[in-house]
């Protein structure tokens, strides 16, 4: 065995932060790819015989969908508040911020359920339109990201508030994840709920 000179312990390279950023890139590709297919089908439907994509009898409930977007702005601010407080070793504020992130995320899921309920859109469309299937596929996938985010928030809160206050990287990684979901929802909101 060759004897290389021993080195000092390596400088921290923010493994969790980088890993979360890579996972967010994968998530962006997933949502972006789904939105691209959505737009392809939408374009084909608008250029088809009906000249419309959203089925005739149904409309997008704008209040809950807009509330979701506003909630995401709150989530991004609170996630950054947690990072700010963690840098100052302010455990109480970290706990408050993480709690609000979790609460708002649950509220977004509730708003999504309200959208489903108010639309009453069947997933099985007798006319053969792909709208119902694609609507539930893309919004359902996004709800899965939200649930994952809530779990991430809970893990962050347990670890940080449980006493591992020197490990601030998880709070930063947590914020990155919610920025990603906020950006992804902004795209989804514009494509699915605004352009219809």
């Amino acid at each position: 065995m060759l004897a290389l000179p021993p080195a000092a312990p390596p400088a921290p390279k923010r493994q969790l932060f980088v890993g979360t950023a890579l996972a967010c890139s994968a998530g962006t590709a997933l949502i972006g790819g789904m939105l691209a297919l959505w737009l392809r089908f939408r374009s084909a439907a608008i250029n088809g015989t009906d000249h419309r994509w959203l089925p005739k009898k149904y409309s997008i409930p704008e209040v809950p969908s807009n509330i979701m977007l506003v909630s995401f702005i709150g989530i991004a601010v609170f996630a950054q508040w947690a990072v700010y407080a963690a840098r100052r070793d302010d455990k109480r504020h970290v706990g408050m911020a993480l709690g609000l992130v979790g609460l708002f995320a649950v509220a977004v899921i509730n708003a999504q359920a309200a959208v489903y309920s108010q639309m009453g859109l069947p997933i099985r469309d007798k006319t053969g339109s792909a709208y119902g299937v694609m609507f539930y596929a893309i919004t359902g996938t996004f709800v899965a990201f939200l649930i994952l985010g809530i779990v991430f928030t809970m893990v962050t809160a347990f670890r940080y508030l449980g006493g591992r206050t020197t490990e601030r990287e998880i709070v930063t990684a947590h914020a990155i994840y919610w920025y990603f979901t906020t950006a992804a929802f902004a795209m989804l909101w514009f494509v699915v709920y605004v352009t219809k």
């Binding site: 060759l2 080195a7 590709a29 997933l30 972006g32 297919l37 591992r164």
Partner: protein, 545 residues
């Protein structure tokens, strides 16, 4: 500071005397996970080569329908999907998982449990796909429940591969030894980084399409074409240029072998890194879910007053199809410079690697031609020829990588004299399996078994076509023999072969600075790196001895 425990917690390391099955199932040791992926990937290749041979045999006289007309589209699907996602990607990722942490001087893979979860998701996804195909599911399958099982398993399998890719990319980005900046990262590790970043972009896009497909199949068959539309919607991930991203670590391995064989430093190393990075451009074709051909059907190469429009078409086609190939060409062209004035010591892994690179390049060239619509090759068997060249070429290099790093992973080495001829047999197999389809493609032999059935039945397969299809069948058969012989030789050598020593190849990178096989935590002490070839720095003359 990291908040995830990244140190492997297995009770026994790879050097443990008796490894129980439970240890293997619950392991987060990167060397074990990597070896499991490599072995299963090579076994899968065995099965896929048999399927490729059966399809070639079917084409010799398609009217005889010896396989049963209903099963042909399903076998065609498993041949395409299996070659990429059962064999090429797992073998390349498996090599990365096993070797890259050692190459970059890390004690462990980043997120080893994520990689272990990814491995099992891939394995069970693959197993369920095979079960669903056997039960008449899959593309064009008739059993509704098993078609749905096929689609959902496909997403699970791709999700698993994405997890492994994330762990690998994070390893190269965050766990490098002190002094190892990105310009000093070993060529193979760099190619794995570029490839995994590409996979992180391409595989989720495919998963998105699969989610739509699944819900569409369950609730609305018309929108996505039901069971007959599956390959259409995921096809972009099973064709060129996206496949270049899957084969990229094979090109990196060939580049890695050049300075080792030439026994010196790699000249113009930065350009080689750039070349490997260029191949990664192919990932964008996967992200956009299309092949980006030259859309000049019928207008030939006449420019007329459409100069700017056609220039745009050329730039689009060139960016996605030609640029990645240029990257691989750069790697190949710089190889001779390393041999200038050196005393090369040719070994079997080098032969595997360099021939693998050549085969991948022939496939890449086929991908370029296939994209030119005016050549009339689209929809023909030509595309399958390019696919076979890229995938078999990558797997040849993969086998070379197993022979090269086998001593490090298992502590014993394969005999060079026995492995070398297998490389040549593998090349012959690849040429025979791929090149006849190039010729048959120019003669308009249809290639898509899931396309309109009338094209397949009305085409005349007699005359020269019978010869091309016979040769392709023989090629797949030879690949089966190559892989079988390689696995048998590896099994024998790695269990009872000669002890390898810590640095049997007189190599340059960090993995050869630890024992063979390495301890659980890879290195007894942390190393400082001062160049891209840290082991050369330690040797008396500053060059490999």
């Amino acid at each position: 500071m990291t908040t995830i425990d990244t140190v492997s917690n297995t009770a026994t390391g790879s050097s443990g005397a008796a490894s129980s099955i439970a240890d293997w199932i619950t392991t987060s040791d990167h060397k074990r996970i990597g070896r499991a992926m490599i072995v299963l990937g090579l076994l899968a290749l065995l099965g896929i080569a048999v399927v490729g041979g059966l399809l070639g045999f079917e084409r010799i006289d398609i009217n005889s329908v010896s396989l049963g007309s209903g099963s042909i589209p399903q076998l065609f699907a498993i041949d395409r999907i299996g070659l990429a996602f059962f064999a090429v990607v797992p073998v390349m990722l498996g090599l990365g998982v096993a070797v890259v942490p050692l190459q970059v001087g890390a004690r462990s893979l980043a997120f080893p449990r994520l990689a272990a979860a990814g491995f099992w998701a891939w394995f069970f996804g693959m197993a369920l796909i095979i079960i669903s195909i056997c039960a008449n599911g899959g593309p064009n399958g008739g059993a509704t429940k098993y078609v749905a099982l096929f689609i959902s398993s496909y997403a699970v399998m791709l999700g698993g591969l994405t997890f492994v890719a994330i762990a690998l990319a994070a390893t190269v980005l965050t766990t490098r030894a002190p002094g190892m900046n990105m310009r000093r990262v070993p060529l193979f590790a760099w190619s794995v980084l570029v490839s995994t970043l590409g996979l992180i972009l391409v595989l989720p896009v495919t998963i998105g399409a699969v989610i739509y497909l699944y819900l569409s199949y369950r609730y609305n068959r018309e929108a996505f074409g039901g069971n007959t539309g599956i390959l259409h919607w995921v096809g972009f991930s099973l064709t060129q240029p996206t496949t270049f991203v899957y084969a990229l670590p094979a090109i990196g391995f060939a580049a890695e072998m050049v300075p080792v064989t030439a026994r010196g430093r790699m000249p113009m190393r930065g350009v080689v890194l750039g070349g490997l990075g260029l191949v990664g451009v192919a990932a964008f074709a996967g992200v956009t879910q299309t092949e980006h051909p030259l859309p000049w059907s019928g207008s030939k190469f006449y420019l007329g007053d459409l100069f700017w429009q056609k220039l745009g078409d050329i730039l689009n086609w060139g960016f996605f199809n030609v640029l990645p190939v240029l990257g691989a060409v750069v790697v190949l062209l710089l190889a001779p410079l390393a041999f200038k004035g050196s005393k090369p010591k040719i070994n079997a892994p080098f032969v595997f690697g360099i021939f693998g690179l050549l085969m991948v390049l022939v496939g890449m060239a086929g991908g370029i031609l296939n994209g030119i619509i005016d050549l009339g090759l689209r929809g023909t068997v030509f595309e399958e020829g390019a696919y076979v060249y890229v995938c078999y070429g990558a797997l040849l290099a993969g086998m070379g990588a197993v022979a090269y790093w086998g001593p490090k992973l298992w502590g014993r080495r394969m005999p060079d004299k026995a492995v070398g001829p297998l490389a040549l047999l593998g090349v012959l197999a690849t040429v025979l399996a791929g090149f006849p389809y190039y010729i048959a493609g120019f003669a308009n032999q249809p290639g898509d078994f899931t396309g309109p059935a009338k094209d397949l039945v009305t085409f005349s397969y007699s005359g020269p076509h019978a010869l091309w299809n016979t040769l392709a069948t023989i090629g797949h058969g030879l690949m089966v023999i190559t892989v079988l012989a390689f696995i048998a030789l590896a099994l024998k050598s790695f269990t009872s072969g000669a002890a390898a020593g810590d640095d049997p190849w007189d190599a340059h990178t960090l993995e050869w600075a630890t024992s063979s096989p390495p301890p659980t935590d890879n290195f007894a002490a942390m190393h400082t790196v001062a160049s891209a070839e840290p082991l050369i720095d330690l040797k008396p003359s500053g060059e490999a001895s």
